[in-house]
């Protein structure tokens, strides 16, 4: 009877340790996941605050070279911006320009520097247009011009 009582207590003890350990493990894992997501979200917010760019063309005189119109993008934010077709999306009059029809001269722009965006002349007819460039973290700039 005495042995049974001790066994029962040992079983209760082991069971309580296993349950507490499991609950603790799950709690720590969930806390870690939530804080990691918070940290990732924080980095994205930081990028949104740091990234800023501006189209600096003269709206009445858009230069061209070969089969491209040239648009100048100035980095007026606080960090370098990667300028690739993957990080930027281009719209003319609300129409998405396909990736093959635009390109950047540089792969990134340092702060206060300028890069050139080439857009195929077939995508822009004569007349008034609105160019919208959407960069990393959906930071964008809009520019109305005349060809």
């Amino acid at each position: 009877m005495g042995f049974s009582l001790t066994s029962t207590q040992v079983i209760f003890f082991i069971a309580s340790v296993i349950v507490a350990g499991t609950v603790s493990g799950v709690f720590i894992a969930v806390t870690y996941d939530v804080t990691s997501s918070f940290s990732d979200r924080g980095e994205r917010v930081q990028d949104q605050l740091d990234i800023e760019f501006k189209i600096i063309n003269d709206p009445d005189s858009i230069p061209s070279s070969g089969r491209n119109y040239l648009f100048y993008l100035k980095n007026i934010g606080g960090v370098a911006i990667p300028t690739t077709n993957a990080t930027f999306t281009v719209f003319v009059d609300g129409e998405l320009i396909i990736v093959a029809n635009y390109s950047f001269v540089d792969t990134s722009i340092q702060t206060e520097e300028v890069t050139t965006l080439n857009i195929d002349t077939d995508d822009i007819s004569s007349g008034d247009h609105t160019l919208r460039i959407v960069g990393p973290q959906a930071i964008d700039d809009e520019f109305t011009f005349t060809i």
Binding site: L49, E52, D58, I76
Partner: protein, 134 residues
């Protein structure tokens, strides 16, 4: 039973402490970084409001066009980070000064002839612009 309860409480207590350490160790640096970025953005916005330039003249002095620009704002401007467009085309230029203080005039030279009626545009490093008809 009492000892089991104490052991389980101890394990959960340690887990809570570890979780708190994870939360504080991740949250505080994230909030600090966001605060720094927000502060930088505020400084940039204030500088944009305080920056202003005015092109006062453009003269062809063979082989360069000399552009005179007044700093009419209250910030110092790094001239090498300015951009100049002539009829929409970006120009390579030199300047008489590296840094352009408030109430000072800087001269920018670029090797393209600005004809009467041509439009010149200057853009400061933080995107403030001024136009001038040659």
């Amino acid at each position: 039973m009492g000892f089991s309860l104490i052991a389980a409480s101890a394990i959960i207590g340690v887990a809570v402490l570890i979780s708190l350490e994870i939360i504080v160790g991740t949250t505080v640096p994230t909030i600090t970084d966001i605060h720094d970025s927000y502060d930088d953005m505020r400084v940039r916005a204030v500088e944009q409001l305080q920056t202003d330039v005015t092109i006062t003249s453009s003269v062809w002095n063979n082989p360069n066009t000399i552009l005179s620009v007044d700093n009419t704002g209250s910030t110092t401007i790094n001239t090498s980070k300015c951009s100049i467009l002539l009829n929409g085309v970006i120009q390579t230029f030199t300047s008489t000064v590296s840094y352009f203080h408030p109430e000072e005039t800087a001269q920018f030279s670029f090797p393209t002839h600005a004809n009467p009626g041509d439009i010149i545009k200057i853009i400061t490093p933080n995107g403030i612009e001024d136009y001038y008809e040659a």
